[in-house]
């Protein structure tokens, strides 16, 4: 049996191996093609129509293929939404990185209590997004909010933040930062644990203060991780939905209307699916480019065996 395999059939076995692997991969690729690739192409096709469900004749009408894209350039509400998105992404990513980094540095010590608390800090991130939205709806609703209760008790007259034009976007930023700071914290903690102990010991022997060790040894070591964590959060911030849907509904006016939300409104409130598809194609392109940046940054495909 063994000799038979080793002697005549090495090539046959390699072929058999290839066929087996192909059988293993084929179902996944086929399913992924049907459920992700085809819909993406359909989305692209829809973006070349003026599809509106109230006018069924627009379904496969490609007479003006670039009309939706022309509207993209002309729609000032869309341009506003991109600007809101930029502000939201910038502040949430920045705050999450800073808070996550600070907490990770605080928690990175050998201590039973701190190790238990690490898990506690993860709770906001693992909560279902809709529950996070409900939690903040409660906090931002003056009648029942403990926060507003405290403000009243100390005599501050604070408006309802989510309906106040000056505070609406900030209140979303606060809630989003709360939800996702554990993510950056967790990634930084994982990176901190990979710093070789000799490096830290050597710095201490040379008389470096804790602050100097952090500044000159730890931080350079984790900049890569911070970059990747920031990129992941950046891509995710483009998808922000439940918080905005529950807290502000894009308002007041359209001060908290990010592009993803505007696209949702166009498609499922106003029924302009063609136009919405064009917006979404742009969003999709943005996230594919950012994913590609991640793949490059992490160096996937390069296997270290």
């Amino acid at each position: 049996m063994i000799s038979e395999r080793l002697a005549g059939t090495a090539a046959g076995f390699a072929r058999q191996q290839h066929r087996f692997f192909a059988y293993c991969v084929a179902p996944s690729l086929a399913v992924l093609a049907v459920i992700t690739l085809l819909p993406s192409l359909y989305l692209l096709a829809t973006s070349f129509t003026q599809l509106s469900l109230t006018r069924p004749e627009t379904l496969w009408d490609f007479s003006q293929p670039l009309e939706s894209y022309r509207q993209l350039l002309a729609d000032s509400r869309l341009h506003n939404s991109v600007w809101v998105q930029v502000k939201l992404s910038f502040w949430t990513v920045l705050l999450q990185l800073l808070i996550g980094l600070g907490l990770a540095l605080l928690l990175n010590m050998k201590s039973r209590l701190l190790e238990a608390l690490r898990t506690v800090f993860l709770i906001p991130m693992v909560l279902p997004p809709i529950v996070v939205a409900i939690i903040w709806k409660v906090i931002y609703t003056p009648d029942i909010s403990p926060m507003h209760g405290i403000f009243r008790a100390i005599g501050w007259n604070v408006p309802a933040l989510i309906t106040d034009p000056n505070w609406a976007l900030t209140s979303i930023i606060i809630a989003d930062t709360w939800e996702w700071f554990p993510f950056t914290m967790l990634m930084v903690l994982a990176a901190l644990q990979m710093i070789p102990q000799e490096l830290l010991d050597a710095a201490k022997v040379d008389g470096a203060s804790p602050w100097q060790v952090t500044r000159h040894v730890t931080l350079p070591f984790i900049t890569g991780i911070l970059l990747v964590a920031g990129l992941f959060r950046l891509i995710d911030s483009i998808k922000a939905f439940p918080l905005i849907f529950i807290l502000t509904d894009g308002g007041p006016g359209n001060l908290t209307e990010v592009t993803n939300y505007y696209s949702y409104l166009q498609a499922f409130n106003f029924s302009y699916l063609g136009f919405s598809s064009a917006i979404t194609v742009a969003l999709l392109a943005a996230s594919i480019v950012l994913s590609w940046v991640i793949v490059r940054a992490v160096g996937w495909g390069v296997r270290v065996d």
């Binding site: 395999r5 076995f13 459920i35 989305l43 809709i130 209760g149 499922f268």
Partner: protein, 275 residues
């Protein structure tokens, strides 16, 4: 000796972290408490520390439509998890062992489908489901949940198999086992921990979904997250029930997350980091 100063610093640091943890968790704890309060108690300020806890909110939920939505959520999450594992695990194994060309492109494709804004899939699915009569069905939700869970399985399991030495199944092949037997008898039994973590993460992602269910369901297949939001719109802001519903949705999540906390980074980044 500086030990006293060091000990004091250490104590201060612990106190600081505990205070920060309480501060960070207070919004969550507030919702939890609210779910046991009567509506009158909810509007009471300053809040009483010792209030008469009530289970009325939960009882009211369990006798309402919410129960169906909760069961829908369970069914959809479990089935989509099982299907993703069934289809994805052999692929993850093969991709780990097989140095085929084009795996870089497959990598980007899978990551991109994890990263794509949900609305990119929702528009075409909505249009197609209208014709296939899959709107407002559990089947429809299960299919769209595969878009993220199948990629998740491949991305969780592939690095896991990279770590299993090839000599394991090679020894089995030399003993005359077929490729398939090598996979089912040698590799699968060793995959337990990886499979469990992956299954839980898949379940959580499906369970947590709000956007797809919001758009692709109406009444019949409505999932729990959408049902809770409906309390806000139609039934006059019943905060107690909203809080109880939210708590019921987050309980399984908290339990499972605790079990897989080591794999969280890995799952959330689609395998970018072995956290």
């Amino acid at each position: 000796m500086s030990t006293r100063a060091q000990r004091r610093d250490r104590l201060l640091l612990h106190v600081l972290v505990v205070v920060l943890a309480l501060l960070a968790l207070s919004p969550f704890l507030w919702l939890l408490l609210m779910s046991f309060k009567t509506n009158a108690e909810i509007f009471h300020f300053p809040p009483r520390l010792l209030f008469d806890a009530t289970l009325a909110n939960y009882a009211a939920l369990w006798t309402s439509e919410f129960r169906n939505s909760f069961i829908n959520s369970l069914v959809v999450s479990v089935v989509s998890t099982a299907l993703s594992l069934l289809i994805g695990v052999p692929a993850a194994y093969a991709l780990s062992r097989w140095n085929a060309r084009g795996s870089g492109a497959i990598t980007l494709w899978i990551l991109a489908s994890r990263m794509a804004p949900p609305i990119a899939f929702t528009i075409p699915y909505f249009l197609v489901y209208r014709h296939l009569e899959l709107l407002d069905t559990l089947t429809g939700l299960i299919i769209i949940y595969l878009t993220f869970n199948l990629s998740l399985v491949i991305w969780m399991m592939r690095p896991f198999y990279d770590q299993l030495p090839r000599s394991l199944e090679e020894a089995a092949w030399i003993d005359g086992a077929t490729m398939w037997q090598g996979f089912t008898r040698i590799i699968l039994p060793l995959s337990g921990p990886g499979l469990a973590a992956t299954a839980i993460l898949c379940f959580l992602f499906a369970w947590n979904d709000f956007f797809f269910a919001l758009i692709l369901t109406r009444t019949e297949a409505m999932t729990a997250p959408v049902a809770v939001v409906n309390f806000m719109n139609y039934e006059g802001w019943e905060w107690g029930r909203i809080a109880a519903g939210g708590t019921m949705i987050m309980l399984p999540v908290l339990v499972f997350s605790f079990v897989v906390r080591k794999y969280l980074v890995h799952g959330l980044t689609g395998g970018a980091l072995k956290g």
